[in-house]
């Protein structure tokens, strides 16, 4: 599903975010991406959704080499990937409902589908009451869950979650994790960047640890620390 071949990423201000990453993630896997602040987790995710291009090496998603992808292919490509952004990236001028619906509007889903699926997914993340509210009127954790709802509403093949429980209390976090596991069971590949030791340690899934832009550990059924 995801294949990194000797990938390096240096930002335009010369910050080296990733160096020589070699990684293969299979379809249906659930992978934790861990590592200290600034290790390159978000950069990894940006490379996967082609928000950034690698300065060296190749990123392959499915059979697509992202560096060779044409401009008009990008939107179509991104529709198969759900992303929970670390900074949520909600549209400030749209209500919660509209924000989630947007992921369906772009694939020109029917009105009926929108009206059915959006409330359902908002129910799942516990924000049924907040449908008509704007993101600026939400608490941090609520915004995070809207981002999650938008990421999963069109049942993507690949789900990238960047610190999806950073602003959630443990109970809500576990609720979200149950949801992600459920989605994973239905076949969605999940890559989750996280600092939540409790979750990683209890789930015992594959753990890829980054440090200074390099992979320092890659374990099946791993834990947060060494």
């Amino acid at each position: 599903m995801i294949q990194f071949q000797r990938v390096s990423k240096t930002y335009s201000n010369k910050t080296i975010a990733l160096t020589g990453i070699d990684l293969f993630i299979e379809k249906g896997e659930f992978v934790f991406l861990v590592g200290p602040s600034g290790a390159g987790k978000t950069t990894f995710i940006k490379l996967v959704i082609r928000r950034e291009l690698p300065t060296e090496g190749q990123v392959l998603i499915g059979r697509k080499n992202l560096s060779l992808m044409k401009n008009h292919e990008i939107p179509i490509f991104r529709r198969n990937i759900g992303v929970i952004f670390q900074d949520y990236k909600l549209l400030p001028n749209k209500t919660v409902f509209e924000n989630v619906a947007f992921a369906l509007e772009v694939i020109e889903a029917s009105r009926k589908d929108v009206l059915k699926q959006v409330p359902a997914v908002l129910e799942l993340v516990g924000l049924k009451d907040k449908a008509k509210v704007f993101p600026t009127e939400l608490s941090g954790g609520e915004q995070q869950r809207v981002s999650l709802a938008r990421a999963i509403v069109n049942r993507p093949l690949l789900l990238l979650a960047d610190e999806p429980t950073g602003n959630l209390d443990p109970d809500t976090s576990w609720g979200i994790m149950d949801l992600l596991m459920e989605i994973n069971k239905r076949g969605t590949t999940i890559v989750m960047a996280t600092h939540n030791k409790n979750i990683v340690d209890r789930m015992r899934r594959r753990v890829v640890a980054l440090e200074n832009g390099q992979i320092v550990r890659d374990e099946q059924k791993g834990v947060y620390d060494i």
């Binding site: 990008i74 939107p75 990937i81 990236k89 400030p92 001028n93 772009v106 029917s110």
Partner: protein, 289 residues
């Protein structure tokens, strides 16, 4: 594009406008006011040109004939010259009559010979080259002098020409400036929202999917600006027209109907088209995500 999608775009555009209320308002008023400037210029300049055109109608050259010359062949020859619209023969007797009338005296020449010459009055085509025409006239046999109002006619023609040239230059400059202001204003509203565009792209929206609502917003801003400016301009011209017809009925002012008609097209095209272009062109930069 499905009808449903287009409907969606329209809804998106109107939502975008209302939720960015302050920005939209600022943009609409700026567009309206720029168009008012354009309209004012347009009114002034078309009327100046109209005035100049009217003035052309009264341009004349006078040719004094030598004594006892047959005017008919000369009249025919001059009619053929370039820049001549009409040639009228005025006999010395008619000339005396006219002089008496304009001096307010009677029987000016009853006790004496009429010393006035026979005359050909030449009405000019506005596109005339006066100098060349005068040379041609001078070279004709039987002509005593080409005289009356020569410099006045030349000056008038040049003024008319200058009004035309400057008017067109000015309206072009102002038109471009107004366009720029409109495009730029809409650009500013888009610049403020580049983050939204980025987010949309990251969620998988195509460029067109993002562009349409912005374009419709631009068009809508253009339409609103157009309507406001047209209302104010037609009202303004109505008042101006009434004022001038009252204060100076002899000034040839263009009728409201003509001005409104031309202005409608000018303003609508500029306002609406460039509202759309402005927004489309502005988001281009941000679509590269």
């Amino acid at each position: 594009m499905k009808a449903k999608t287009f409907l969606y775009f329209t809804k998106e555009a109107s939502i975008g406008l209302s939720r960015n209320g302050l920005m939209s308002l600022a943009a609409v008023t700026t567009v309206a006011f720029s168009l008012i400037i354009l309209g004012c210029f347009f009114i002034v300049i078309t009327n100046c040109i109209h005035f100049a055109e009217m003035a052309k109608g009264v341009l004349e050259l006078k040719v004094y004939l030598k004594e006892n010359v047959d005017p008919a062949p000369l009249q025919a020859a001059i009619s053929e010259f370039k820049g001549v619209e009409e040639v009228r023969f005025v006999s010395k007797e008619e000339g005396a009559e006219w002089l008496e009338k304009s001096l307010g005296v009677k029987n000016l020449f009853v006790t004496a010979d009429n010393p006035l010459p026979d005359t050909l009055d030449i009405r000019l085509d506005p596109k005339v080259n006066v100098k060349k025409l005068v040379k041609q006239l001078d070279s004709l046999d039987g002509i005593d002098e080409v005289a009356y109002g020569k410099t006045f006619v030349e000056a008038m023609l040049i003024i008319i020409q200058i009004i035309g040239v400057l008017g067109i230059c000015l309206i072009t400059i102002i038109g471009l400036v107004v366009l720029y202001i409109i495009v730029n204003t809409i650009r500013l509203t888009v610049l403020a929202r580049w983050k939204e565009i980025e987010i949309m792209k990251l969620v998988g929206a195509t460029d067109w999917f993002i562009r349409w609502p912005f374009m419709l917003e631009g068009i809508f801003i253009g339409v609103c600006g157009t309507i406001i400016s047209l209302l104010l301009l037609t009202k303004g011209y109505h008042l101006l027209y009434a004022y001038i017809k009252e204060a100076a009925p002899f000034i040839p002012v263009l009728s409201e109907k003509i001005v409104n008609y031309r202005m409608f097209w000018l303003i609508t095209m500029v306002g609406v088209a460039f509202g759309a272009v402005g927004s489309t062109w502005s988001i281009k930069k941000f679509l590269r995500v």
